[in-house]
């Protein structure tokens, strides 16, 4: 009989997930999966709603990254009504979005990813938590994180109405212009955010990069996958979170695709696996060849690691210097999953500097922030780079002007196939001869957590019942029996 090891729930993640590792008679990994037993259903729920409500409704998908959904939705409405927002509205949106990215990346680095790297991957489980992070970085730094986060949130509330669920995005613009007083506050906090990001880069350097054990782990084969990467860039091929062109690079680093938001469906396809609620995405050009790496497999990756692989440079000076150091150390493209944490800190710096640029741009304060839509709504697509990767909102409206169809591709879906690769490989590398201790289990989870996956919003394909699959293998790896319950509830035994 095989031995089954379950890690449930995967901690420090949004939503519930489960990794299952199957061991053979010798105690080596037979196969490891990550599973998603949570059901959502926004795509169905929004049918028949007014398009203008979509930024408010979809921001309720998740209690962690509502601003990303709000913004992707707002951009999809621009496209739905074929209306171009005035320059100031775009700048206000990007300013608020940069503020959100800075806040979210801060929280992730210190409190969610922090237990893995700041406290350390082999630290006892009892210390691998936020209190362990504070013990390591000091109370003063912890207070600094909290204070920074609060100031960033207060700015979001000032500009976007509410700190958690913004209410300012409208088709063709934003609800209000930024007053001189609010802009002045943005300028002050943005300067502090740049200092804070530089401080954080220094923390990362001291705790992680100066520790050869951590660096060895980052570049270790168990956490390395050669896949495609996707992210948004501006006209000069520089990273942008709010708007631009989608760019895909191959595992060898060359550009393999480049497309406008509205053409995404020509490049990306979705598929389901019977053992997961998640809809897996893949690149159409190489196609789906199963859970394989390399340029012949359509598996790709998004989020900080991927974004720094698709960009030629960063548009702000401090972030560019940090990026050059990153590339110099790890090469390009970087295939190491755990480098996501470093890339996230560099993006934090970019977000803070971008905030500062936009807050100091006189046009951001212009009073013209709305172009009124006049077209009948038909079809609209909006894409942003969310903290956890590319987020796509695609709506269609019926003759009555209401939403008839919605497709949401969330960051974690883009990463799902690569995460499955990562969990399996980490388990194979780290579990041998039946030795499964606490530290090893944490390392398997680290393969997952580096992406900061948000399973709550990825599981929206609304199947009838929870799909489940149990495979029984003999020590030679031959499949003896499969018991599978598909998403339609049917049970199959082969």
């Amino acid at each position: 009989m095989n031995t089954k090891v379950s890690i449930e729930p995967i901690t420090r993640l949004e939503g519930h997930g489960k990794i299952e590792i199957y061991l053979d008679d010798k105690g080596n990994v037979d196969r490891a999966w990550f599973q998603v037993p949570e059901l959502r259903g926004f795509e169905k729920f929004v049918q028949g709603r007014l398009p203008e409500d979509m930024p408010q409704i979809t921001s309720r998908i998740c209690g962690v990254c509502p601003t990303a959904h709000h913004m992707a939705s707002t951009k999809a409405l621009d496209d739905l009504y074929k209306v171009t927002p005035p320059a100031a509205a775009k700048k206000v949106r990007e300013l608020v979005y940069s503020t959100f990215m800075a806040e979210d990346h801060t929280l992730h680095f210190y409190f969610l990813g922090g237990p893995d790297f700041v406290v350390g991957p082999t630290a006892p489980k009892a210390e691998r938590n936020v209190l362990g992070v504070i013990a390591k970085v000091g109370i003063e730094t912890g207070q600094k994180v909290i204070a920074m986060r609060r100031k960033l949130r207060e700015l979001t509330a000032l500009a976007a109405g509410k700190p958690i669920h913004p209410v300012f995005g409208l088709p063709g613009g934003v609800a209000k212009p930024l007053s001189a007083d609010i802009l002045a506050q943005f300028k002050t906090v943005a300067a502090e955010a740049v200092d804070f990001a530089l401080f954080t880069l220094d923390v990362f350097d001291k705790i992680v990069l100066k520790n050869s054990g951590y660096v060895d782990l980052i570049v270790s084969d168990g956490f390395t996958h050669k896949t495609y990467y996707m992210g948004m860039v501006d006209e000069k091929n520089r990273l942008n979170f709010y708007d631009g062109t989608m760019r895909v690079v191959a595992p060898e680093g060359n550009e393999s695709a480049r497309f406008a938001s509205r053409d995404y469906a020509q490049y990306i396809a979705e598929r389901t696996e019977p053992w997961s609620y998640m809809k897996f995405t893949y690149l159409k050009a190489p196609g789906w060849t199963g859970f394989n790496e390399g340029s012949s497999s359509g598996i790709y990756c998004v989020a900080p690691l991927a974004r720094l692989n698709v960009t030629d440079a960063l548009a702000t000076p401090h972030a560019q210097a940090a990026y050059e150091q990153y590339i110099k150390t790890l090469g390009k493209p970087v295939h190491h999953t755990l480098a996501n944490h470093w890339a996230r800190v560099i993006e934090l710096l970019y977000a803070a500097e971008r905030m500062q640029e936009l807050a100091n741009d006189p046009e951001t304060g212009d009073s013209n922030v709305r172009t009124l839509p006049t077209e009948q709504p038909r079809e609209g697509i909006g894409i942003v780079e969310a903290p956890r990767g590319t987020l796509i909102h695609h709506y269609k409206a019926g003759e009555d002007g209401r939403i008839s169809n919605a497709n949401l591709i969330v960051a974690t879906q883009n990463n799902a196939a690569r995460i499955a690769l990562g969990v399996d490989k980490a388990a194979r590398t780290l579990i041998t001869g039946g030795k499964v201790d606490d530290g090893i289990l944490n390392m398997v989870e680290m393969a997952f957590r580096a992406y900061d996956p948000c399973l709550g919003c990825a599981t929206h394909s609304l199947p009838g019942s929870m799909p489940l699959r149990v495979n029984v293998h003999n020590p030679q790896g031959d499949m003896l029996t499969t018991v599978r319950r598909d998403s339609d509830g049917s049970i199959h035994r082969t």
């Binding site: 729930p9 901690t11 420090r12 993640l13 949004e14 939503g15 519930h16 949570e38 059901l39 959502r40 259903g41 926004f42 169905k44 729920f45 409704i57 309720r60 209690g63 962690v64 929280l107 409190f111 969610l112 237990p115 489980k125 691998r128 938590n129 936020v130 209190l131 362990g132 504070i134 109370i139 912890g142 207070q143 909290i146 986060r149 609060r150 949130r153 700190p163 958690i164 669920h165």
Partner: protein, 161 residues
Amino acid sequence: MTVPSTGPSLRILALGNDILGDDAFAFLVAQRVRERIPGVEVTCSSASGFHLLDDLLGVERLLVVDTVMTGTAPPGTVYVVREGDLEVTPGNSPHYTGIFETLSLARALHLNAPREVLIIAVEAADCLTVGGPMHPAVEAVVPVIAEMVESTSRNFASDFS
């Protein structure tokens, strides 16, 4: 005990998501309570984990209304829990069930955390179906819990006098 000069001494914090079936529970309680005991701060939040931090700070006492799914009791079962009644396991899931971790964090950083936290929770049947209806047994305890929150608030308040 004297009432602190800044900020309210008691906050009722309703946690939930009003478009997810039974998860609307706390918001319905909040709506009733707000009408019946003017002057008490009532906050509704759909945030999770550390994003709750701001809602936990700046008060002496915090009364949380929430739903739970233990799966071991029938829907509508009411739980009353004081913070100290539960063993806090920080790191278990700061992103999702983070109220205790967030409180631990606040205390570790000497932030203005509440002195006392009381949680009133009801067993839910379904907090995952978008736009789903509430279970009748859960909906039925809305007025009961509103009453409980109201009387607890009065007791809390009288402690300060």
